[in-house]
Symmetry: C2
Subunit: 400 residues, 2 copies
């Protein structure tokens, strides 16, 4: 048998289950005699570019088991984008690393940018007529990957957002005189994660939900919050970080390259409501815990993430390449889904937004969205603690 | 036997275990034939002022059991402060309500402001020679109550902060080029909750911790963050919301009464570091989830909160009054504590801060602090979910 090594790549923003897919891939690979070694590329594609590759076979078994409750990307991640030209120098570096370590299977776990990496690697192998199988594993809390019912990581992030918003509301209504609350949720250009709060029971739902899919009118927003606050004595608005409106430049966060960063929308809007109406406001940005929070991992999400990682390995060993493992929903009640490979070219760089049919109006979701979302936050996974602190896997990272 | 009713009051900011003490009190009261009825005062002392009292005996048993995992104050809370003059009109209103419902036992669950309410009620009963027992139950995530080793609610909030900061750091180090992080933690004038992050394992501890107990120099802070970032490529600073420094007025949140609100320190500091050094920053305010997060409730904290509620009822039935149930630590390794009544006059309005002996320097804690804090975040409680959402108790609130 022609044995070859596999390499696993994590790419883009971490999710609560990013390491669960890695776990699934490792466990599956151990069953395949055609896989000689299980390698991990450090910091995404950078690991192949710079020959920073580790041997996952040398990790302790206990550490591997802990992957399913470990936040962050255990192998490290990147936002590096490969050049368009397949003859660029970077590709030669990647090919050198693949050849040096006799790698025949490449797995890329990521979102739509990362599926671009996956796509380009598969084109490279094809063009150079190399026997290298390249398979993508879906991952993004934004849930904006095309050609899949949903993405690994979304369900757990949604479960965090739904429960955290509920707890914030429970705290809010403890007082006799309430404030107005603006809660900011991740999701860049897609509102899936923001919309998730609409699955809360009718009496616990936020008053207003704003998605980046709809045009946002900040002045109308300010007036609407004030109107609800005056009627009910409280108002809870949930906004996506991706909504666009004219902002005070001093409050827009800028990174070292001068790029605008997302975040801060809630506090800017709270300031606008307060200055126009004098209402006592509280702005809450749910921030990074949305994508890292092990104690609120959804079991459905965790199980699917493991299964997608495993399926990717199985399909590659069967000879498949240039595909991403997508999730196809069979039914919502009861929830049933199957995994199907989809041509990677259909997924790379495509953003999937919430269809208008899933919105009731521009501030509420339709029942069809709730039916879609609820099964994905279902079930809990047992989390191991030590001295009150969640146990996490820290890999030894033995370089090859 | 002279049967009298009891009334339970929740007061001040909610904690993850505020309703656990209520649960403990209810379960204990059911065993005492001298207690005729178990009442709850709605929105703290406001309930007695306005005769808004409910009969907790009419609640479903399942709802009562869910109290231990319900965030917010189930009876509602208040920040109302009673007047100094015991002959003020408000006291007559309170006495009318107590007399009308034949109430002989009053329990006040709260922090140092609330213990002032407790103290005044006990003075009132004494002055008017009324047979009314008044007992306090400790509660505050700030952990600043005097005369007790710690307060119910602190352990769970600390567990949330410790684990969330750890998960944020795990996410942060997933990237090859890091940012600098400033994380803001609750605690008003006491740094207990901020300091808690120092219990993380040495390799996972934040670089800098700033408590309100120490004088804060914003310029020195900015330079220190930049220095660490340049050396390590990352810097994680955890600051208390209570640190004081000169801030851009536009960014200080102001409520409807023109009072400055806490919060926003992290984002102001991040802006200062970015504008001086151009470092890519991320500011994260942990906000309300710190005091509401059921899935990270500490078992030690939950058990003690239940026990304090129960002990308060037991002691009142024994004839004790004008005391708060304090927690006295017997040993840290293994952790052992006992509950002891303490004179309420010693506790009302007193703020307990972190002693200098528990600090290593002005940015790190001493081992004695870690030994103090670690047992309090120990153990987990099983949390019940329904369709992926944490089950919470919503009381029927039958008025008497």
């Amino acid at each position: 048998m022609d044995k070859k090594a596999m390499v696993y790549i994590q790419s883009g923003g971490p999710t609560s289950v990013i390491n669960s897919s890695l776990y699934g891939a490792i466990r599956e690979a151990e069953k395949h005699p055609e896989i000689s070694h299980i390698y991990g590329s450090l910091n995404g594609i950078d690991g192949l570019l710079n020959d920073n590759v580790i041997d996952l076979g040398q990790e302790d078994r206990e550490n591997i088991e802990l992957l399913v409750q470990t936040p962050g990307a255990a192998l490290g991640t990147t936002r590096h984008k490969l050049p368009k030209d397949l003859h660029a120098e970077e590709y030669q570096k990647i090919l050198d690393t693949l050849e040096k370590h006799n790698i025949g299977y490449v797995f890329v776990n990521g979102g739509n940018d990362s599926m671009d990496t996956c796509h380009k690697l598969s084109l490279l192998a094809k063009e150079r007529k190399l026997d290298i199988k390249v398979i993508g594993v879906p991952k993004t809390v934004d849930n904006d990957l095309a050609e899949t019912d949903h993405s690994n990581g979304f369900g757990s992030a949604a479960k965090y957002v739904v429960n955290t918003v509920r707890e914030i509301i429970a705290d809010a209504v403890s007082y006799k005189s309430y404030k107005a609350y603006i809660i900011e949720v991740m999701g860049r250009n897609a509102g899936w994660l923001t919309a998730a709060v609409d699955v809360l029971p009718e009496n616990a739902r936020p008053d207003l939900i704003y998605l980046p899919e709809n045009k946002f009118d900040a002045n109308a927003f300010v007036d609407k919050v004030a109107k609800i606050y005056k009627e009910k004595g409280i108002c809870v608005a949930v906004v996506s970080e991706g909504i666009e409106f004219e902002r005070d430049d001093a409050n827009v966060k800028v990174d070292s390259f001068g790029h605008k960063q997302l975040g801060g929308a809630a506090s800017d809007l709270a300031r606008m409501v307060n200055s126009k109406y004098g209402i006592s406001m509280r702005a809450i940005e749910l921030s990074l815990p949305q994508r890292t929070f092990a104690p609120l991992t959804s079991k459905v999400d965790s199980d699917e993430a493991i299964a997608c990682g495993a399926m990717a390995v199985r399909k590659a060993c069967e000879g498949m390449t240039a595909q991403m493992i997508a999730i196809k929903r069979v039914s919502s009640k009861p929830y049933k889904a199957e995994l199907v490979p989809v041509d990677i070219s259909k997924i790379a760089n495509v953003e999937r937004k919430i269809p208008t049919s899933m919105m009731k109006d521009d501030t509420r979701m339709d029942q069809s969205f709730r039916d879609y979302c609820l099964p994905l936050i279902e079930g809990e996974i047992p989390v191991k603690f030590e001295n009150g602190i969640i146990k996490t896997c820290v890999l030894k990272k033995v370089r090859i």
